[in-house]
């Protein structure tokens, strides 16, 4: 049996207590939400916290609130299966409902949370392996080793951003609320991430993610498309989050297109975004905008499926996401 390493387990009753515990134990502590990312990682000895702090007893993290300004605050501990079936989210944020439904399997979505999904560890074929597998070729720099097996000359880790919701959440310019030792702050979701396979988050380790805040519905439309081998279980090999804002006359005022599964953060497809802005969305423009995403989708060979084929089909998935924002 593949067993968890031993650890001290806590279930604090307030956010302040959770943060205090996390800062007391520093690097030796980690939060756990649904555990569907953390526990497999602990079983394979990628992450070995001596102190595991469960967030299940923090009631305010379990609610979905529609606010007066029309925005929606989703508590970090809300289960993926709750979001997927929530009538308000389904009606006003179909791209979020769809992205959530594309995550893993129904059983895992009964356990996994939106907070855990936003903070999901980055992935790589040389990392997401058993301890013995990694030991046999020698550990890589993301855990214990000195080398990167994907790019042996590289000074950095290229592990891949693999959450299905992150590209959409970033494209629609959602916000996240964080609670730390100095109080609460709200930042743009985009600013939670950075381009590094190991230090992929900008937040402090003890900072608690409390809410995801989706912007009020308005003159914008968002979509998500996902490429993977099987239609269940598999992480995105490419995940395209798109969001278009329209003027009264139907001109695109602004476009955000973010690529998941392509780099260590949800990369902007800048050329695509620039091409779309100020234009009417025609079939020709959709196809052209898709092709313009070829360059940022220059992925490394560290996820599933053939890397050259992945680059070739990226424009198709980008075009499909843009077309769905019509």
């Amino acid at each position: 049996m593949l067993r968890l390493p031993t650890f001290e387990y806590y279930r604090p009753k307030t956010a302040a207590d959770a943060v205090a515990l996390a800062s007391e134990h520093g690097k030796a502590a980690m939060y756990v939400a649904g555990g569907t990312d953390l526990y497999p990682n602990m079983k394979r000895r990628h992450q070995e916290p001596r102190h595991v702090i469960s967030l299940q007893d923090l009631p305010e993290l379990h609610a979905i609130d529609v606010r007066d300004d029309g925005s929606v605050a989703i508590g970090a501990m809300v289960k993926l299966s709750t979001i997927e079936h929530d009538p308000h989210i389904k009606e006003h944020y179909p791209a979020i409902a769809h992205a959530v439904r594309e995550i893993s399997t129904p059983l895992l979505r009964n356990m996994g949370t939106i907070g855990g999904n936003l903070l999901l560890d980055t992935r790589c074929t040389y990392y997401d392996q058993s301890f013995e597998w990694r030991e046999s070729i020698d550990f890589c720099m993301k855990k214990e080793g000195a080398i990167c097996w994907v790019a042996p000359g590289s000074p950095r880790c290229w592990a891949v951003q693999s959450s299905d919701t992150v590209p959409v959440v970033c494209a629609m310019e959602a916000q996240v609320e964080l609670v730390g030792t100095d109080g609460t702050r709200q930042i743009s979701a985009v600013d939670l991430y950075q381009d590094d396979g190991i230090e992929y988050l900008t937040k402090k380790p003890e900072e608690l993610l409390t809410r995801l805040i989706l912007p009020a519905p308005g003159n914008w439309k968002s979509a998500y498309t996902k490429l993977r081998r099987r239609d269940t279980y598999d992480f995105p090999v490419l995940g395209v989050g798109a969001c278009l804002w329209y003027a009264e006359d139907g001109t695109i005022e602004k476009a955000n297109v973010r690529l998941g599964g392509a780099g260590s953060y949800a990369m902007p497809a800048t050329a695509t975004e620039e091409l779309l802005a100020g234009k009417q969305l025609t079939d020709e423009l959709v196809a052209e905008a898709g092709k313009a995403a070829m360059k940022p989708a220059r992925t490394m060979d560290n996820t599933d499926l053939d890397v050259y084929w992945r680059r070739k089909v990226a424009p198709v998935y980008v075009a499909r996401a843009i077309a769905q924002c019509r």
Binding site: M1, L2, R3, L4, P5, T6, F7, E8, Y9, G35, T36, Y39, P40, K43, R44, S54, Q56, S104, T105, P106, L107, L108, N110, M111, D231, T232, Y233
Partner: protein, 177 residues
């Protein structure tokens, strides 16, 4: 829940499994799967990948099907845990167990406890699922033997019988077409 004095670092707690109390001592880092199999001797729940990738460890906690390999036992204290051992009433098999046996929906049988617990939860939520509903609901349970078709047919037949219909398997599903 108390510290079990004589067994260092272990907790002593009573779980409700299939409606019965089980008092066991276990370490807090143990998964529900480990405690069910190794402390309660309920070995009906199988261990496969132990990483969330197969579904054979599926049990119900407060009616919701979840993976016992990625849940801590300590979090199941005070909850209603159901495993495959709880499906039959005495020696009477549940309708799903009958149809799985009759239609050959279990071959090696390793996936079966997990699939039964997921399918049972589905039929409680939705007594008349379509083929697509069943496929979607069971998308986290891998079977390497049956090719799934017999599983879908067995769930459909059990659903019909549980709705009180006098349903029989089609000839094709028993003898092939």
């Amino acid at each position: 829940m108390t510290e079990a004095g004589d067994k260092k670092g272990k907790l002593l707690a009573t779980f409700q499994v299939n409606g019965e109390p089980y008092e066991v001592a276990f370490a807090p880092h143990k998964t529900l799967l480990e405690v069910l199999r190794e402390e309660m001797e309920l070995t009906g729940t199988k261990h496969g990948c132990e990483l969330g990738e197969c579904g054979t460890c599926t049990v119900q906690v407060d009616g919701v099907p979840i993976l016992s390999c990625l849940s801590l036992a300590v979090d199941a204290i005070g909850k209603d845990v159901r495993t495959v051992e709880g499906l039959a009433v005495g020696s009477d098999l549940a309708p799903l167990q009958h149809t799985f046996a009759d239609l050959g929906a279990a071959q090696c049988g390793y996936c079966t406890p997990g699939i039964l617990m997921a399918a049972d939860a589905l039929l409680k939520e939705n007594p008349s699922p379509t083929r697509d509903d069943i496929k979607e609901y069971l998308a986290g349970n891998i079977c390497r033997c049956t090719g799934y078709l017999k599983i879908f047919e067995a769930v459909e037949l059990a659903a019909a019988r549980m709705r009180g219909e006098d349903a029989e398997p089609s000839k094709e599903s028993i003898y092939g077409s």
